[in-house]
Amino acid sequence: MTETITLEVARYCPDRDSAPSLQSYQVPLREEWVVLDALNYIKDQLDGSLTFRWSCRMGICGSCGMMVNGEPKLTCATFLTHYRPGPIRVEPLRYFPVVRDLVVDITDFLAKLRDVKPWLVREDAKPPEREFLQTPEQLDTYKQYSMCINCLLCYAACPVYGLDSLFKGPAALALAQRYNLDSRDQGKEERMDILSQHDGIWGCTFVGECTRVCPKNVDPAGAIQRYKLDAATEWFKSVLMPWGNR
């Protein structure tokens, strides 16, 4: 007989429910199955109305992030056997408004991401005719932060974002730092004006959970602390050497 495990899945239908509730499903417990496989099994075999986001199944697209037993996880990389004998509680990402079942509204994050200018800012009037060259060392400086897949697990782990929705949040700040450290970029000062405000880097109290839950080892907490150090250095420079350039 096939071994099974219970999944307690958060269900919320905006037209019918005032708050989410948990619904239990029995799914086969297979060694090679991740939580996302179990959700797809439920959708295909047990309850077609279950709604959730997913795409690549290989930790690249960042769309299947959910709370698994209270921890933010990529469900495509979270094996069922890890939670044997169960049950496994699957809920939408914490601190985000729920659209339906396991789907959250990420409009707020997308607006914040745009605010930090996550692209190469150049002072040139025209695009260059050749590509910008970069040494392996220069690439290595920012590569860690460029691994972010916008899965938003870091937001679901950050109590500061939960308590103050104005806070720009770990991924947006780490991505800002990714471009600041890029030798081809010239937008550091523009970003500093945005990020040195209270709801930018100074909102972070260094809980450090964003770094712990990041499936790509981006270390957003580290990026933010480095940014704070940069901002403080710039401030001291502007006070001690007001005649110098910023």
Partner: protein
């Protein structure tokens, strides 16, 4: 657009997962640090005021409730120091010959400074 469900964050969010509680304890440990600053300032003031004032300070510090308070504060100060020293490599990134300096080498000077300062204070106190 359909109705979104928004859950309010509990006032007691920090009592949930252990990393959150550890964070709050780390933040709260700044109070015992401030207490030790007050004690040190009072000690210096008593020292400047003469032998009698210093004996009075020592008498105040040797009362059992004060010893218990200072023992608890000491544990918090240790926790504060070690956690912050260990977090230093997150903020300070140095590169040497193209390679990032390992985390333990960034944290090490903090510990060395701590040991040196403690040894200097111990020498001052114990030489008498």
């Amino acid at each position: 657009m359909s109705r979104l469900y928004r859950k309010r964050v509990s006032t007691y969010w920090w009592l949930g997962p252990w990393p959150y509680l550890r964070f709050i304890l780390r933040e709260a440990s700044s109070v015992p640090v401030a207490w030790f600053v007050v004690v040190t300032l009072r000690q210096l003031r008593a020292l400047a005021a003469g032998r009698e004032a210093y004996a009075e300070f020592q008498q105040w510090m040797s009362q059992p409730p004060m010893v218990a308070l200072n023992a608890v504060c000491f544990v918090f100060v240790l926790f504060h120091t070690i956690t912050w020293f260990n977090l230093t490599p997150r903020a300070v990134v140095l590169r040497l010959r193209g390679q990032r300096v390992p985390d333990h080498l960034i944290a090490a000077p903090n510990y060395l400074g701590w040991v040196a300062a403690s040894a200097a204070v111990a020498w001052l106190i114990l030489r008498a």
